[in-house]
């Protein structure tokens, strides 16, 4: 049994005027069938590029320069552009961050949904229409028939994102790439849309690779978590492992730096300042030779600055790329 997605030592670099930016610098993880895996990290850590790399849609001047991407046991890197087109939108689909700009403003919702069906399936317009309306109903879009004739700008942000989810799941893909699908929405809408996406994906048995910077969202929906920093995976594990036993200093810091709602159970102790990770995110064109987090890490040892840490296994599902977690053998 192959995992739905397996990424191995992926390298995607951007060849800019000021130098080579290593947006993705040796990323590896996998997603099993029907699993929801969240890729978390701050802006510029390469999480969105990872999704675009899976579809082989890295924008100019970026290029995948190394590594392998396996979908259901097939190496996507060996696919022709034509074969890739058959994968996109059918076996792997994607949802984007800004529902305001990710739907084409010049075409109706129906036009865009029907197109998505008819690229990959031999279906009449009527059949495609049926299927689209059905899908819109599944994502709880009110009066789906009427919305088919609406233009994107006539819908609210939450409704547009439901349309995106519907389109992405129209053909029951094996993998859904969701790039910050709720970040642009209001909190109360965010929760609804997230629920709809997770439910619809589970119904169709679609595995989800959800990209987000919001750890709270991760804790609610993820089966497993991949933490990225400066183009590399620093830690991965089950949601429980990441949230209860974070192993990498970056993950630990991230979890402590978020101001969170105190629940009623907690005491009335005076507030403590937030945990601060000093320093700045390093420039991708000028990464340190060792661990990328080393300059900001309070626990760093000499080895950290000198050598890139490999992923050290901490359990069956848990691994951290940190010299402090070095395991013998």
């Amino acid at each position: 049994m192959f995992p739905v997605l397996k990424i191995d030592d992926l390298q995607t670099h951007f060849f800019t005027r000021t130098g080579i930016a290593k947006a993705i610098d040796g990323v590896g993880f996998h997603i099993d069938k029907g699993e929801i895996v969240c890729v978390v990290g701050e802006s510029g850590c390469g999480k969105s590029m990872t999704a675009l790399s899976v579809l082989r849609l890295v924008p100019h001047p970026g290029r995948i320069v190394g590594g392998e991407i396996w979908l259901d046991g097939q190496n996507l890197m060996a696919f022709s552009e034509r074969e890739m087109r058959e994968v996109r939108g059918d076996r792997v689909s994607m949802i984007f961050q800004e529902p305001m700009v990710s739907l084409n403003p010049a075409f109706t919702i129906g036009n865009q949904l029907i197109e998505a069906v008819r690229v990959h399936r031999k279906a009449s317009r009527a059949e495609a229409w049926e299927r689209s309306v059905e899908m819109l109903r599944r994502v709880d879009l009110p009066s789906p028939e009427a919305r088919m004739n609406a233009y994107p700008h006539e819908l609210s942000g939450g409704m547009r994102q439901r349309v995106m989810i519907a389109e992405a799941l129209l053909l029951d893909p094996v993998l859904l790439l969701a790039d910050e699908p709720t970040t642009a929405l209001d909190v109360t809408v965010q929760a609804q849309v997230l629920d709809v996406m997770v439910r619809a994906a589970r119904e169709s048995g679609t595995a989800v690779m959800m990209i987000t910077h919001n750890l709270a969202v991760v804790s609610e929906i993820a089966d497993r978590v991949v933490v990225m920093y400066a183009g590399r995976v620093v830690e991965q594990g089950t949601t429980e492992e990441i949230f209860t036993r974070p192993a990498h200093p970056y993950t630990q810091g991230l979890l402590r730096a978020i101001p969170t709602l105190s629940t009623a159970a907690e005491d009335d102790a005076p507030r403590q300042p937030l945990y601060e990770m000093g320093g700045l995110v390093p420039s991708l064109t000028d990464l340190p030779p060792g661990c990328a987090f080393c300059p900001r890490c309070s626990a760093a040892i000499d080895l950290c600055a000198a050598q890139k840490p490999p992923a050290f296994p901490l359990g069956e599902t848990h691994a951290a790329a940190c010299w402090l977690r070095r395991t013998e053998g």
Partner: protein, 322 residues
């Protein structure tokens, strides 16, 4: 403690659309907002998009003029203040903006940006100005020798520090911070929040902290104002708001926020629909179409903003049980 800022029944109406042949529609962006900020206190102003929180901040700053209502600053009515007195007053109330990229003029050096407001005071000569700029930069954790660099040479977090330095160099009493950390990454956000807290105690500042992020607001605020579609729905002590919210909107808002902890499944109050357009707000209580507890009266009658208990204000016909 005395109030540094008190706004009462503040209103701002905009005309929207219209033209030669059509009458413009009236948008009540801010529709009767009242709250106060005590000296040394942080008031959190929260709400979803279109609730009028940014407009309220700009009204308090007198960046835009109110349609009705009053603004009192340090005891004096400043609602209609203009000209020189307004300029002098502005030194005492400063603003920090959301986007550290667009709030700094890209063509000015950092030192000039920070010192711009000081130029209004001829009694502060160039040397004194340079001294205060350097001091402000040091306070916010910037190196004073970077004063002759341009904003684009700094990262997002550092730019926000420049924005903060520009505010505190004027030695203000009140700082209105409009989503000051929303554009920043989590690890940088924590640095800026801690900086703001440190400055508050060091300089005796008061904050009006506008944000949509309840986690951040809860962390930094003493009292909280919750807004929905141009109106204040609840105003109370931070703890009271989060532990015992009395307005259904506040409660659903809080329950919608996920918590980054494993196994904590929040009991979520199901909320249907989205925030209605401020162009066409619902009748009566604006929240009634989404409110699980709405009754007939909520549809027809606008609930007054009233005192529920000591320090707890609410605009709801049927407040939740304590």
């Amino acid at each position: 403690m005395a109030d540094i800022l008190a706004v009462e029944n503040l209103q701002k109406h905009f005309e929207y659309g219209g033209g030669l042949l059509r009458k413009p529609r009236l948008v009540r962006a801010v529709d009767g907002v009242s709250f106060s900020v005590r000296e040394g206190e942080t008031i959190g102003l929260v709400g979803e998009s279109g609730c009028g929180k940014s407009t309220t901040g700009r009204l308090a700053m007198r960046l835009i003029d109110a349609t009705a209502g009053s603004i009192r600053f340090a005891g004096a009515d400043i609602t209609r203040l203009g000209g020189r007195p307004l300029k002098t007053l502005r030194a005492q109330m400063q603003m920090i903006f959301q986007d550290p990229h667009s709030s700094l003029d890209p063509r000015m050096k950092v030192g000039d940006l920070i010192g711009e407001g000081l130029r209004l005071f001829p009694e502060i000569d160039a040397a004194a100005r340079a001294g205060r700029i350097a001091e402000a930069m040091e306070r916010v954790g910037l190196r004073p020798e970077h004063a002759d660099r341009y904003p684009h040479e700094f990262s997002g977090g550092q730019r926000q520090r420049i924005g903060i330095a520009r505010a505190i160099v004027m030695t203000p009493k009140l700082v209105v911070a409009d989503e000051p950390v929303s554009a920043l990454d989590v690890s940088i956000q924590a640095q800026v929040i801690n900086l703001l807290e440190r400055l508050r105690s060091d300089l005796g500042l008061s904050y009006l902290f506008i944000s949509h992020d309840l986690g951040v607001v809860e962390h930094i605020s003493d009292r909280i104002v919750v807004m929905y579609l141009g109106r204040v729905v609840e105003f109370a002590d931070c703890r009271a708001i989060f532990r015992h919210p009395r307005h259904p909107y506040t409660k659903t808002l809080i329950s919608a926020i996920p918590i980054p902890r494993f196994g904590v499944k929040r009991e979520r109050i199901p909320l249907t629909g989205e925030v209605p357009s401020p162009l066409d707000p619902p009748s009566g209580c604006h929240f009634h179409p989404r409110c699980p507890f709405a009754r007939e009266r909520c549809r027809t009658e606008t609930p007054p903003f009233r005192r529920l208990s000591d320090g707890h204000w609410i605009a709801c016909h049927h407040p939740l049980e304590d």
